[in-house]
């Protein structure tokens, strides 16, 4: 359904080219949930934005293909892209407080996406259609209320006219999910949708997204820095580091038997609730600065405890270690 091949996104800055996404390969089947996990600056959000061709200036997609249902999104014209955004591929952003427009009622903002994509068609074209505007609005209103109900906003008729600041964080995120669902997208891109929310609200939102996935068969790419959330919610996981995928595969494999030293380190550094308390393992060093990262060799080299001399030089691609499981590490060559 979605296939990304050798995607490269570069930011031209004063300090040189920053390779935010560096040769990324990814594929997603219909109805599946893919988790994209990584720390800040690992390029996970950029990957999502590239799919919608929304990479902000001065970033540029310089290489690669993004095939969505067989068609390359990178070859589409801007107007064709506008058709796809929101309709076939919808996105949920991290911070619900800044995503909604504070000066319009929430319901109107959901209605806008119905209108833009012409979901409720006017009964007649031309001037007569214009005269029937009132009917069309009413139908749209009904559809919005239905959507709001579906995502769990109580009293949707009343809430339609509320402004974003009158909603709590969890409710705002529900409203955004309603916007994303308004056109029944085939693919939903969720960029840290629960990071700004409390655990109990996070559980509600994840529950809602899972229902959407099961009922509508919507595929989801779920970006998060929280491995535990990804482990519970996704079918497949791809771990990103410095713009590359270092490990990907089915959840049980990646979380259960991690292969890459970075994945292992991440898993060890999460505090766990077990009877025995141990000192936490901490990956040494800092998240790398992409601008000063050497283009050659493994980007994790400096922080890796299992590194050998060759890691500095070798150019690696993803290596298939077992069915559907890929690792980018010299140890599995």
């Amino acid at each position: 359904m979605l296939e990304i091949r050798n995607l490269k996104v570069i930011f031209e800055t004063d300090r040189g080219a920053v390779r935010a996404v560096n040769g990324l390969d990814l594929s997603l089947e219909k109805g599946k949930i893919l988790g994209l996990v990584g720390e800040s600056g690992s390029g996970k959000s950029m990957t999502l934005l590239s799919i919608l061709r929304l990479v902000p200036y001065p970033g540029k997609i310089v290489e690669g293909e993004i095939l969505f249902e067989g068609e390359d999104l990178l070859k589409k014209s801007p107007s064709e892209m506008r058709e796809i955004r929101g309709k076939d591929i919808a996105m949920i952003f991290q911070d619900p407080m800044t995503t909604l427009n504070p000066v319009f009622p929430v319901g109107e903002q959901i209605r806008e996406s119905l209108r833009v994509h012409n979901i409720i068609k006017p009964e007649r074209e031309g001037i007569l259609g214009f005269l029937r505007e009132k009917d069309r609005r009413k139908k749209e209103y009904e559809k919005v209320v239905e959507l709001m109900e579906k995502v769990g906003i109580s009293y949707p008729e009343k809430r339609y006219f509320s402004y974003p600041h009158q909603f709590s964080g969890g409710m705002q995120q529900r409203a955004i999910i309603a916007i994303a669902l308004s056109c029944n997208p085939k693919l939903l891109l969720a960029d840290e949708p629960t990071t700004a929310l409390d655990v109990t609200i996070q559980a509600q939102i994840l529950d809602l997204l899972r229902k959407i996935n099961e009922v509508n068969g919507t595929s989801i790419i779920f970006v998060t820095h929280d491995l535990a959330v990804a482990a519970e919610f996704c079918d497949e996981i791809a771990v990103m580091y410095a713009g590359q995928i270092v490990e990907k595969g089915p959840v049980d494999k990646v979380i259960g038997e991690p292969k890459h030293p970075y994945t292992k380190g991440l898993l060890k550094s999460i505090p766990k609730i077990t009877r025995k308390k141990e000192k936490l393992y901490a990956i040494p060093g800092n998240v790398p600065d992409l601008a000063s990262l050497s283009p050659k060799g493994c980007p994790f080299y400096e922080r890796c405890e299992e590194a050998v001399e060759e890691c500095k030089e070798v150019e690696l691609s993803l290596i298939e270690v077992s069915d559907g499981e890929f690792v980018r590490c010299i140890k599995y060559l």
């Binding site: 720390e39 964080g169 655990v199 491995l227 519970e232 505090p271 766990k272 936490l280």
Partner: protein
Amino acid sequence: MHKVPLKDGVLDMENGTFIQIKNLKKYFIEEPDLLTRVVPKKKKRVVKAVDDINLEINKGETMGLVGESGCGKTTLGLTIVRLYEPTDGKIIFEGEDIAEARGEKLKEYRKRAQIIFQNPYSSLNPRKTVRDILTVPLIAVGVKNPHVREERIEYLLERVGLNHRHMDSYPHQFSGGQRQRIGIARALAMNPQFIVADEPVSALDVSIQAQIINLLEELKEELNLTYLFISHDLSVVYHVSDRVAVMYLGKIMELGKTEDIFFNPVHPYTKALLSAIPSVDKRKRRKRIILEGTVPSPVNPPKGCRFHTRCFMKKGKICEEVEPQLKEIENGHFVACHLYS
């Protein structure tokens, strides 16, 4: 400094009480606007962020404080270090009530109780170098000799895992984890005995989070510190705390040893909160209790038990009418719930 002996994992309660918080309240009262100045309203809007809290922290222990956003945990932390004026109640620190301390006495308290803030990006002045940032507290403690100060800054930086070469750098030149280390160094400069850590790792990446948690634990051992560790991340709190208090809408709902709270929770809210923690380990996952709705507004908290609007184990009318008191159900395990009274 003598260390309080450990008695089966719990610190000695009688000799060890270090900070005692008695009926602490912090209300935020609505400022009158022009209209209400002319026509006074009958009832002012009052946010009861911290409402009648009793808590004892023993010497050398880490008290974890958890709760959802808006439950008042940060307000409680800030009030304890007197960055907020308490509305009512007592904060007894080593036998002295400092809730209304002023002048010299407050200064003296500040030397012994410090705070680490949540956001390392906004808690450091961007126009000051690390040297400036660390010099101010040292002057406040009374280190007058600049050479001694210099040495002390070098020591502090090294202690938190930074290099003395960093002394003349500005905050923006550091990563989030490094900035949090500077924040910790600043708190340590006063040589405190008690530190309120207000979500010290929430803004950091997973791999950096572990480094900071380990640093805080090492410092505690080495300098014999006492922590009040505030976080919404339950796994982190579990990892660092000896005892845990669960807050909801300005009240403590459950309080006890970390193991009791996490493996034997009794309050429905604690149960729901714990069930919502995602886990990497499949076998560890609990059956999820999904709480309906969100935290009600603290302006008009629900009558009776504050949790009754979302509670899935509501007993009946009593929950809506009578406010449950914090009661000890077993050794050191307190709960405020009608199911256990």
